[in-house]
């Protein structure tokens, strides 16, 4: 009680109290900012103020990797552990740190620093990626630990290559495009136009555009909006899924840090169309900088009245809350994301029912990815016709691809749907780095599948990729040259899934662990008889029987590799014969 | 993993809820208790006592051989003997012959009025029926009572006066059909845990609204829409003010009042003075809360009232209960599913013991002893000479104690109870017990009362005998023998039959019948004399119990009462006046003490303090509000002295908002710090129930050295 920090916390908790359980994540973030971790006494205060059972507060703290129940170092450095960053040298960064730290610790300088392995940080084009107290570094491989620790590093600048200029026109300038600049470039005209239309007209425009979700599931956006608009129940919610965590993906990060208002405009149009007066934007916990940019953009939009009561004098009112995640890939799954906003462990729900009828707080909800929403202003401004002129018949519009790995020009690429893989990789990105041969390219992220040379002429569209057995996913194109060990890649993907499985359903909870164990064993001792069958059984069971997309795709890279490279998991003895 | 030799289905021996227990037995040891998820009363749930609290059966301190005191006890010099060294182990023959000889001696010398018996709300219907039969038929005394006098006597008397039946009107599980319910003077989470779960379910899953009227911030307040924190003993003004609002705002049910009630005008006139403003001054409850509660209850589709001992345990306990009954009659929230007047009964078989005639004014089935026709009926039924049964009302529990005197009560037979823990003003009780000429204890352990006894008859536990319990919603359920009786202990009904036959032989009177082969025959005999039990047969309650009344072999039982009429015809409104509690606070005694129970313990502690349950809650704690604690300069865990005009105890305190400022709470289970040393022997004039829920005390800081057992401490997080 006497602890002044606890009294500070209580003041903040009194503000959070009316929000109830849904304020749990913000309260925990605030607590951790104050104390550096979440002490039991603070957690008890949170539980009492927000009316959450103590054990449930514990359950939530323990679910998210960025919350700590014990004191941690003053400076926490996250080192990406995924294949691209590993191949770019994150492992040796790690090793060097441990080699160097003891010396420094003796002199009293470093004992307050902790290094943590992390899943993909969304900085793949700057591999090996580091976050120093939430700040992204650029070119960590070339810097000394001393510079990194003291914060003496440059901020990464993402290279953007455009064949169309719709989503990223305000991106890549090294600073956010704030409201004035956004409006000067025609920003918020689409929203103003939408306010002059009926919600049904807005929905029919979006339906006519053929826009489908860019988060990975490719569901027609207009159909989703219509479903939520027609669903009985109120209030209704619109949620922006900015929990970008699929390994190899960084497009949403770039858009948030560069052009925040485009996303807000998309959300406003969606909210107006479905009759939602409340929106949430859920940003992954590692994107602290992007969270701050969005928060400032929200403030700007509130100041001029895009967000608030009776927006621009219309009957439409809208309130937006931003939520920062706390280290859980699974929260990118839409229902897990709802749970997380509601202040619970981020566990996916059983579907059906679907979000359009039973979403956030059990109410009709539209949840869209950042990139999806960023398409909406263009559609409203230019009409569905114009939009459909871009891309292919069944995949209209522009698409962002995230190129990383062994490629000459890693970065963000905005192209119309329908260009070939070869075009992007060789014509735009300069081909495989160092002129080496491409061994494999992972499409779709950790939950993806491998392409090889034979796939170079596949057109990048939903329909063409599907025919080739490749997922578009979130637009990940992760290139590996012929020097890379495929089994190492698979092992790292397997570790990612094992660490990120929420643990709800048995197939994924246990399957991701078994998959990891088998691949670890192969990495250490070589392949034994039965390994491949075990991997196949585990992968098939996860794919067939898991609750959500995480489990259903946790074995897909392994299955894809087994199909592409028949001999990959032949027992060592057999191969010798 | 242990495989059971057998799994036996029986009924929990603790509270009135009546949960089904499936006892798993290996090598005659009960090692696990489960309960079926389709069990009609408790639906798969149990509380800590039901799940784990059976282990007293195996406690080494349990007495399993008959005992006689080594040193002959003389009136005025009677002492307590807890140590077995002070007792002689004897045969059953010797113990029963000795008991027979002493009881008959006193009876023949001083007559019927010299004898008294405490029946037991923990024992079966059969045990209680036989014990009252023995004293009524053989000794012609009506000095027969049990702890119902100390718990719901006020409710029973009020319900008898107003509607003519004293049981819970509806089934506990019907709470999910309430849309508004009032819970008052009842801490269900601790005392009726399974009903509390059903209440929470009704609120959380069925949208029911709860109004708590209680001086304590009980756990269910967390689930309540309204909490009216009244000062102890101000129930009549609070509930009458609600009636006042309902009358003023015309929220009453005129059709129900016209067709089903009487005395409305007199009642309505008496409510005039109970304005919310007046109630606020007296009770401390914000008048707006009273108005809101009145509107909410009156405008409910189905409203119900649940109460426990906070209502009757007052000098105006009967009036308190009448105030609740008035509300139900006014709004017509009675006689339908999901409504009702529901006194939550404390003991597992307090309903049954009352039904079985363990009461001074009634034969079994609430047939009055001063009713000639009833007396003749029982004379016939028990094969007694015409005119032999005593037509005078007998003494109540508290009166039995106060009548111990050379020309009053000389000998008492106590089955199972422990007046030396449960009576108010224990110093007085102790003095009275010392004056007894002869005392028989029949129980499992030598408790504070039996320690005064001359002879101790070791009884079997609930797990070692067959019989029936009747739970709080009038459901007669089977109790089954799970394991053979430990040592030489015997079922109570067997002990009574054996003793009664010896007494009859000595008195040389015709037999009232004691040759039962099985308890089922006892219940059948009772059914011939009590119409409400006529259809209750063991073969009908093998799986699921029947709710009384069950008028014949084909009658399906009665889930809720008063659908068409009240037993007395019309429900009667009672005009009320406000009376203060017997003792009010002053400068010397500035706190109101209220007493009660905790989840882990049962009453005098005979069972639970001989169980591992005691590990969970090993010492008495006085609950003090943080505001008072700060003024007293104490914090949780500090030792305090609590003193009343009658006595003083030392115990640790628990600083908690569960109790309101100015009020302290002490559970009465702990012989190391017995709350009833402090309570006042002031009784309700009609129901004769003592005022356990309010007396004036002083609280001061004390030293840990003053505690009888300072080691007993257990950090707990559930408060």
């Amino acid at each position: 009680m006497d602890d002044p920090k606890l009294m500070d916390l209580q003041t903040k908790l009194d503000e959070f109290a009316p929000t109830g359980r849904s304020a749990l994540l913000p309260a925990l973030h605030h607590t951790q900012k104050l104390f550096g971790y979440i002490p039991q006494a603070a957690a008890s205060r949170i539980a009492a103020s927000l009316h959450i059972p103590l054990a449930n507060v514990h359950g939530v703290i323990d679910f998210y990797t960025l919350f700590y129940r014990q004191p941690v170092a003053e400076t926490v450095i996250h080192v990406c552990n995924d294949p691209v960053c590993a191949f770019a040298g994150s492992d040796s960064l790690f090793k060097n740190f441990y080699r160097e730290v003891p010396h420094q610790a003796a002199s009293g300088g470093l004992e307050t620093i902790a290094l943590e392995r992390s899943p993909c940080l969304g900085l793949c084009e700057h591999a090996p990626a580091l976050l120093v107290q939430g700040m992204a570094t650029a070119g960590a491989a070339g810097q000394s630990w001393q510079d990194i620790i003291t914060g003496n590093f440059g901020r990464p600048h993402t290279q953007i290559t455009r064949e169309v200029d719709i989503l990223t026109s305000n991106c890549g300038k090294g600073a956010p495009t704030w409201l004035a600049a956004y409006e000067a470039s025609g920003g918020y005209q689409a929203f103003r136009k939408a306010l002059g239309m009926s919600p049904a007209e807005v929905i029919s425009q979006v339906k006519a555009s053929g826009l489908v979700g860019r988060g990975g599931a490719a569901f027609p956006t207009g159909v989703k909006w219509e479903g939520a608009a027609n669903a009985p129940g109120s209030p209704k919610y619109v949620v922006c899924n900015a929990d970008e965590a699929e390994p190899g993906t960084f497009k949403d990060r770039v858009m948030m840090e560069s052009d925040p208002h485009r996303i807000l405009e998309g959300m406003l149009i969606a909210a107006y169309a479905i009759g939602a007066n409340k929106g949430y934007m859920y940003i992954r916990g590692e994107y602290i900088h992007q969270f701050e940019v969005m928060a400032q953009a929200r403030q700007e939009a509130m100041t001029v009245g895009y967000i608030g009561e009776r927006v621009l004098g219309s009957d439409f009112s809208f309130d937006l809350e931003l939520r920062l995640g706390a280290g859980a890939y699974v929260c990118g799954e839409e229902t897990a994301l709802f749970e997380s906003i509601e202040g619970k462990r981020g566990l996916p729900r059983i579907k059906p029912p679907f979000p359009i009828t039973h979403g956030l707080f059990g109410k009709p909800t539209v949840i869209n990815n950042v990139e999806t929403l960023a398409n909406v202003p263009y559609i409203l401004s230019n009409g569905a016709e114009a939009y459909r002129k871009i891309g292919t018949e069944r995949s209209p519009g522009p698409k962002l691809f995230c190129l990383s790995g062994d490629v000459e020009k890693p970065g963000l690429y905005e192209v119309p749907f329908g260009v070939t893989f070869r075009h992007v990789l060789y014509d735009l990105a300069g081909g495989v780095r160092g002129g080496r041969k491409m061994q494999a390219t992972l499409f779709g992220g950790a939950a993806g599948a491998f392409a090889t040379e034979k796939d170079l002429d596949v057109r990048l569209s939903f329909e063409d990729l599907k025919a080739a057995g490749l997922p578009l996913g979130s637009g990940v194109i992760m290139v590996f040259d012929d020097s890379r060990d495929l089994k190492q890649i698979l092992l790292r993907l397997a570790r990612f899934f094992a660490e990120e499985s929420c643990g709800k359903c048995f197939p994924c909870q246990i399957g991701t662990q078994r998959q990891l164990e088998i691949l670890q064993n192969i990495a250490s001792y070589g392949t034994s008889a039965g390994d491949r069958e075990q991997l196949e059984d585990v992968a098939r069971t996860m794919t067939d029987a898991s609750i959500c997309g995480l489990g259903q795709t946790a074995g897909s890279a392994v299955m894809s590799a087994i199909q592409q490279w028949q001999d990959l998991f032949k027992p060592a003895r057999e191969r010798k014969e | 993993m242990i495989q059971p030799d057998r799994i036996v289905s029986t009924t929990c021996p603790y509270c009135g809820v009546g949960c089904n227990l499936q006892m798993h037995v290996r090598n005659e040891t009960i090692y696990r208790v489960t309960t079926p998820f389709d069990a009609v009363v408790n639906r798969g749930t149990l509380c800590v006592k039901g799940r784990y609290g059976y282990d007293y059966v195996y406690n080494k301190q349990r007495v399993t051989t008959p005992l006689i005191r080594k040193k002959l006890q003389k009136p005025g010099k009677r002492t307590q003997a807890f140590d077995l060294d002070e007792w002689r182990q004897v045969s059953w023959d010797e113990a029963l012959d000795y008991t027979t000889q002493r009881l008959v001696e006193i009876y023949q010398r001083d007559g019927s009025d010299a004898l008294a018996v405490y029946c037991c709300a923990k024992a079966t219907n059969e045990d209680n029926y036989l014990l009252q039969k023995m004293f009524r038929a053989l000794f012609q005394t009506n000095n027969i009572d049990h702890c119902t006098r100390l718990c719901h006597a006020g409710s029973v008397v009020a319900l008898q006066m107003a509607v003519g039946s004293s049981a819970m009107s509806n089934t506990a599980a019907e709470v999910i059909h309430n849309d508004v319910f009032i819970l008052t003077g009842a801490n269900a989470s601790e005392n009726h845990p399974i009903i509390a779960l059903q209440m929470k379910k009704a609120i959380q899953k069925y949208g029911a609204k709860l109004i708590v009227v209680d001086p304590r911030r009980i756990e269910l307040v967390n689930y309540a829409t309204l909490w009216l924190p009244e000062k102890p003993g101000t129930d009549v003004p609070v509930f009458s003010a609600m009636a006042h609002v309902i009358l003023k705002e015309k929220l009453f049910n005129p059709e129900f009042i016209d067709t089903r009630t009487e005395n409305f005008q007199d009642f309505a006139a008496s409510m005039e003075k109970f304005t919310p403003e007046f109630a606020e001054i007296v009770s401390g409850v914000d008048r707006n809360l009273i108005v809101a509660a009145a509107r909410m209850y009156a405008s409910a589709k189905n409203g119900a009232i649940y109460w426990a001992l906070g209502i009757p345990q007052h000098v105006h306990g009967t009036d308190n209960a009448l105030a609740l009954i008035n509300l139900a009659l006014l709004t017509g929230h009675i006689g339908r599913l999901g409504t009702g007047l529901n006194p939550l009964r404390g003991q597992n078989n307090v309903q049954g013991a009352s039904d079985s005639g363990a009461m001074p004014w009634h034969y079994p089935g609430y047939q009055r002893v001063d009713d000639e026709a009833a007396a003749i009926k029982f004379e016939k039924g028990w094969n007694q000479p015409s005119g032999s049964l005593n037509r005078q009302l007998g003494l109540t529990t508290t009166e039995i104690v106060s009548h111990i005197a050379p020309d009053g009560v000389r000998a008492i037979h106590i089955m199972g109870e422990n007046p030396m823990m449960s009576e108010p003003d224990l110093n007085h009780t102790r003095h009275q017990f010392e004056q007894l000429e002869f005392l028989v204890g029949q129980d499992l352990f030598i408790n504070e009362s039996h320690a005064f006894a001359d002879v101790f008859l070791p009884a079997a536990t609930f797990a070692e005998k067959d019989g029936t319990f009747t739970n709080t919603d009038r459901r007669v359920q089977r109790v089954r023998q799970v394991i053979p009786p430990r040592g030489e202990s015997r079922a109570d009904w067997e002990i009574i039959c054996d003793l009664a036959q010896r007494i009859e032989a000595r008195l040389e009177v015709p037999t009232a019948r004691w040759d039962y082969a099985h308890p089922s025959e006892i219940l059948e005999e009772m059914g011939t004399l009590v119409t409400e039990y006529a259809g209750v047969k063991y073969k009908r309650i093998e799986q699921v119990g029947l709710q009384t009344p069950v008028y014949d072999d084909n009658h399906p039982g009665t889930p809720f009462l008063f659908a068409e009429k009240f037993p007395r015809g019309r429900g009667k409104f009672h005009p009320l006046e406000y009376h203060a509690c017997a003792e009010s606070i002053d400068q010397e005694y500035p706190f109101i003490l209220t007493t009660g129970r905790v989840l882990e313990h049962w009453h005098g502690g005979s069972l639970t303090r001989h169980s591992w349950l005691d590990d969970l809650y090993p010492e008495a704690l006085v609950e003090i509000n943080p505001v008072d604690a700060e003024a007293l300069g104490v914090k949780s865990g500090d030792t305090v002295n609590v003193r009343s005009r009658r006595g003083s105890i030392h115990l640790r305190c628990k600083v908690t908002e569960k109790t309101t400022p100015g009020v302290v709470f002490i559970p009465f289970h702990f012989h190391e710090a017995p709350a009833n040393i402090l309570t006042i022997e002031a009784i309700d004039p009609l129901a004769k129930i003592p005022e356990y829920k309010s007396c004036a005390v002083a609280v001061t800081r004390a030293s840990e050295k003053d505690l009888k057992n300072p080691e007993a401490q257990q950090a707990r997080g559930r408060y």
Partner: protein, 238 residues
Amino acid sequence: MTDDITLTIDERPVTVPEGTTILQAAKSVGINIPTICYHEFCTSNGLCRICVVEVEGSRTLVPACVAKVSQDMVVRTRTPRVVNARRTILEMLNASVDLSEDENIQDLMHEYAADEARFPLAEPRQHAILDDNPMYIRDYAKCILCWRCVQVCADDAQYTYAINFSGRGYHTSISTYYDLPLTETTCVFCGQCVGVCPTGALKPKREWLMELGYTPDQIMQMTRTERKSRMRRPQASA
């Protein structure tokens, strides 16, 4: 009023009210679908996925305990795909936890010819026995994470919320607030959790002491002090 739904389960027509689960519908015609985490008394969460069946038109297998029937649905409860998933789940589970006291799972292992040694290098979930109260012990090396205990402690029965989860994924475990001993939590020792635990992970303390070889008399003579000294000290399994 609900409408009746007609569907086909294992080529047999079945008619049930709307809102029925596939599991209940199958049961109504005597088709037994195996379950592990499912408990009639608890909220179904479709965790164990042993009850998965094939539904025509569905990309993945469907958990019968939570999936509702729909008109003209075609369900097959024992296709090779289903059997393979069930067997693999059983084998993976068996490599993770001690299932010896769960007779249902033992029967299923046998029925689905699950290989007990399928994942020899698997790291089982190891937990020391928690003996921190007088009423029951917690042996989480036997815990399959069916959630029943957490649910009955919460809204399925007791509304006490003494336990929740620690960690996530494979390393999820049932836990109290900040791992406090149960006596210091909101636990009221109702034992609803013990009543629904299928694997013996939660067990009455006296039963556990009997298993360890103590006689009933020895157990009952254990004093409060002795019992207390045992608490908090991790116990090796018998």
